[in-house]
Symmetry: C2
Subunit: 337 residues, 2 copies
């Protein structure tokens, strides 16, 4: 491994001079600098991030926390999209990405300790489980953090517009003439709560009454449960005319159930999903859904975190709302008149 020392010996200058020349300090002569750089390239010199980190206390490394309690974690396109764009934006700004976890090897540590251990300059928290004390410890620590879809006092977060998303969907469905709208929701998280509140509020504002049995609990990313909930809704005497699903993927379960009962989409039943993953747009009929701009969220998270890291004084914690987009597919029938 070629080090600065090797270059300094080859050039007959001190290690300090080499370091400064490579880093473009102005107190080194132009020709010396040029010479050193040429030799460095010739010798195949590569800086050592580890040594630099140790000395400077800055790793240019961002930790990412993905808790896949649900055992689907990264496999959910929403999260993998976030990760992908987060990675791209972080790299563009000169940061690498390392996963943060509990228990590395036989050494057991919590997320905060892991992030410190690896000298992460900051951490992006993309977790479902914000009830975990270890997650709270991390977010409350002195390490700059950006949380996704979670608000914590005086910390920066990037939020998907769940309120607006549900509202847009319900408004659209209302305009298409529907007055009996049911919703199947995911497990109890702050995201789910926001969506449900928005659902009830929007319906109320439109003068739609929502019987409690129009609100069914299921899980995200679980077609089976959504299928069951769908069956229950279909069995009602005052069957809804439109069903909202927890997400696009779990809608598949509903789709199957409707198919089995010979209920055609959208002629006999209108449906809508949530997320706007690729799948939703290649299915026929195209699913009406609300696209969460996961790419923008990952990008914003990286950008904001880097800002927090590099300008700790001026950068204020804030909540960044990333709005999505209503995708009007073909699964909500216009039943006006």
């Amino acid at each position: 491994m070629i080090t600065i020392k090797d270059i300094s010996e080859r050039c007959g200058v001190s290690r300090a001079t080499v370091s400064k020349a490579l880093n473009g300090h102005t107190d080194i002569g132009a020709d010396t600098t040029a010479h050193i750089r040429r030799v460095a390239k010739e010798m195949g010199y590569l800086p050592n991030a580890t040594a630099r980190t140790l000395k400077l206390g800055r790793s240019h490394n961002i930790g990412v926390l993905f808790v896949d309690k649900t055992a689907c974690g990264l496999r959910h396109e929403y999260f993998s999209s976030i990760l992908d764009s987060l990675k791209v934006e972080a790299e563009r700004r000169g940061y690498d990405i390392t996963f943060i976890s509990k228990d590395i090897g036989e050494f057991s540590m919590d997320y905060y300790e892991h992030a410190k251990y690896r000298n992460c300059d900051g951490v992006v928290i993309a977790s479902v489980d914000f009830s975990d004390p270890a997650v709270l410890k991390l977010i409350a620590s002195e390490i700059p953090t950006v949380a996704l879809d979670f608000v914590y006092d005086n910390r920066t977060s990037v939020l998907s517009d769940n309120i607006g998303g549900i509202s847009a969907l319900v408004h659209y469905i209302y305009e298409m003439g529907h007055r009996r709208i049911a919703i199947i929701h995911g497990e109890d998280t702050s995201v789910t709560q926001k969506r449900l509140i928005s659902f009830h509020k929007t319906c109320a504002s439109l003068g739609i009454r929502v019987p409690e049995y129009y609100v069914k609990a299921a899980l995200y990313h679980d077609p089976k449960l959504s299928g069951l909930a769908t069956r229950e809704l279909l069995a009602l005497s005052d069957r809804p005319t439109c069903i909202l699903y927890p997400d696009d993927f779990s809608f598949i379960g509903g789709m199957n159930e409707l198919e089995r009962q010979g209920v055609s989409i959208p002629d006999d039943m209108s449906v809508a999903g949530y997320d706007g993953i690729l799948l939703s747009q290649v299915l026929r009929p195209r699913l009406t859904t609300y696209h969460q701009d996961a790419e923008a969220m990952g990008c914003e998270a990286a950008a904001k975190l880097v800002e927090l890291i590099e300008q700790p004084k001026t950068s204020l914690p804030q909540q960044i709302m990333v709005s999505g987009q209503l995708l009007k597919g073909d699964t909500v029938k216009n039943i006006n008149d």
Copy 2:
């Protein structure tokens, strides 16, 4: 930040003693060790991976190379599954995971340089594009690597059983009475080549003649192209009775086309996918497909790489074949008799 120095001062011993006590060296007295460990815990000491890496030349960090030339990269469930299990297994063995990329910040470097820069102990290469010279440079370097689905001279790789997968599918389809089997394949990669070769070989061994127009080119993960190819196949006078798709997701395009033309699955046309992603098993009818055990592949890759890192002498490069599983869904009709 609490360092070994702080502990040593507090305990009135040297830094060497503290280090040894914490690392369980036997040349430190039992009571001294106990005392030092207690104080370390009290003071909230955390080791510093960076300093350790610098000194030991071992980072306990594994680089992962995901090239998403196809712009779907991580979003493909096959890859995200691999990544997920890779991460879990690596962490279990005491290694963290960092993404390796080209061009970090304004500093442009290739994959090899990046891995060196970050002192990665090894790299897992999960790329589609093994024609990239930068990928080859990395895999040919002195850094321990494990490649996924790619064979490179004298290097370890973890391979999905593409030969066996296609063979199993074709045999099953044959047993169900089909003799006119078409295949739509993805872009030209070594994986695709293996699948095509296996397809032709298996058909030949079964005495099935495959007209060239039964072999259609499309792309992985692209339902639109698969839909087009499907349309062409349907237009043939000697229409196939069964179509193999490049993967489960791109099958959706075929599904739509069949639906549009009123061709029912599997009564009028049998179909099969590849990958065995979650989606394939929640669709109705359940897709007949070959499940690639991505989890096992990620796990194997991590395990093997750690072995290469920790026992460089005894661990020989090898090719590990991970077999998958034929998932007999309901999309291939039994047309015997």
